[in-house]
Symmetry: C2
Subunit: 220 residues, 2 copies
C-alpha cells in the first residue's frame, strides 16, 4: 500500500526544504523521494504536477498539493492539533503571508543573479541582495524568530536560503555578515532545530551544485 | 475621522478589481481612492506600502494589508459571517490557492506580452495565452463558477482579466472566443453580479489605456 504522505523533492531546492521542515515540525510520517529534476523527472512527478512539472510535490492519500507556500498552509491546517505555523489573527496572518510573498518575489530572483550574472548586473544584484536581507532583518527586529517567540511560517519559508548563503557569497564575491549579523544569528538559531538540520543540505554541497549549474548554463 | 476601510486602487488594475469585488461581495462599507500610479503616487500609498509602492492597498483601521490575493483572504477571514470565498476543506482550499497562483504566474505575464511584443514572440504569446485559458476552462469544467455553484476565490481572482480580453485580442491580433466558449460564458455570468459589474471597467476604456501604455513605453 502506498504511504499516506509522500514528498517529492530535490535536495538543493529551498522550496522543497520548506515542505520537509513543515512535515518534520508537525511530526508527520512521510516518505521522501528524491527527484532528478534536471535529467529525469519521474512519471509520478509528471502525473502529479502536469502543469508546472516542478518539485516539491506533496502527495496526501494519493492527491497532490502543489506550491511550497500552499503546502505549508495545507500541512498547518490538516495536522492542526500541534502548534500553528500561521497566527490565528487575520492581520498577523496577512503580514506573514506578505513576507513569504516578498521572499519568493525578491530574494529568490535576486539570489539567482549573484551566481548567474556578472559585471554591473552582478554588482547591482549583490547590493540588492543585501538590501532585501536588511529589510527582512528589520522585520525580524529583536524577536528570536519571525514568528515571535516561536518558529513559524516566515521562518520556514526563509530558512532554506540560509544554506545557500555561502554559494551566493562565493560566486557573487560579496559578504553578507557585516550588515546582517542578526539575520545570521537567526539562521544559526533555526539550525539548532531538528527539523531544519534535517532538511537543509551542507552549504558546501550547495556551492558544488551551483558550480554544476554554472557549467550547465555556460555561465563563467 | 478616517474611514475604517479604505481601498487604494487604480481603475485598469485587475489586482485592484479583485479587492473591490471581495469587499462588495461581503457588503463591507469602504472608501475607494483612485491612485495616479503612473505619474503621482499619493503620500498615503507610499506610507502604507513602502516596499513595493504598488496598489491595491487595503487599509483597515489605519493598518495596511498588501497583495491582492492576501487581501481577499483577509476580507474572507475578517468578515466571516457571510459566505466564504475559500472552501473550508484544506485540500479544496489548497486547490483554489493553486489556481490563483497559476493565474498570477502565467496569465498576467503572458497577457502583457500580447500587447508589448511583436513577431515570433507575439505569436508564441498568443498561443500560450489561449493554452492558459484552455487549462483554466478545463478546471472550470461544467460548473457555473470555479467555486462550484457559488462565486468564490478563483472567480474573484480571474474575473478582472475578462475586462482586458478585448485589449489582448486587439493588440495581439488573435481571437479568444472560438476555443474558450465556456470561459466566455463564465465571464458573462460573473458580469451579472453587482460586485463584478461595479469593479470592472468598460473594456473599450481598457483598450484606450493599453494604447497609452504602448505609447509610454515606445511599443509600436
Amino acid at each position: 500500500m502506498a504511504a499516506e504522505v509522500i514528498l517529492l523533492g530535490f535536495w538543493p531546492s529551498m522550496f522543497g526544504m520548506r515542505t520537509m521542515i513543515a512535515l518534520e515540525e508537525k511530526g508527520v510520517k512521510y516518505e521522501y523521494r528524491e527527484e532528478d529534476v534536471i535529467n529525469n523527472k519521474s512519471p509520478l512527478l509528471l502525473e502529479m504536477n502536469p502543469i508546472h512539472k516542478t518539485i516539491p510535490v506533496l502527495i496526501h492519500n494519493g492527491k497532490p498539493v502543489l506550491e511550497s507556500l500552499i503546502q505549508i498552509q495545507y500541512i498547518d491546517e490538516v495536522w492542526s492539533d500541534n502548534n500553528s505555523f500561521l497566527p490565528s489573527d487575520p492581520y498577523h496572518r496577512a503580514q506573514a503571508l506578505f513576507w513569504a510573498d516578498f521572499i519568493d518575489k525578491k530574494l529568490y530572483v535576486c539570489g539567482r543573479k549573484t551566481w548567474a550574472t556578472k559585471g554591473e548586473e552582478l554588482e547591482a544584484a549583490n547590493k540588492e541582495f543585501i538590501e532585501i536581507l536588511k529589510t527582512l532583518q528589520c522585520e525580524l527586529g529583536e524577536k528570536p524568530y519571525f514568528g515571535g517567540d516561536k518558529f513559524g511560517f516566515v521562518d520556514i519559508v526563509l530558512i532554506g536560503f540560509y544554506s545557500w548563503f555561502p554559494a551566493y557569497q562565493k560566486f557573487g564575491n560579496f559578504s553578507i555578515e557585516p550588515e546582517c549579523l542578526k539575520l545570521i544569528a537567526w539562521g544559526k538559531r533555526c539550525m539548532q532545530r531538528e527539523s531544519v538540520a534535517k532538511a537543509l543540505p551542507d552549504s558546501e554541497k550547495v556551492v558544488g551544485y551551483v558550480l554544476q549549474l554554472k557549467k550547465l548554463y555556460g555561465i563563467e
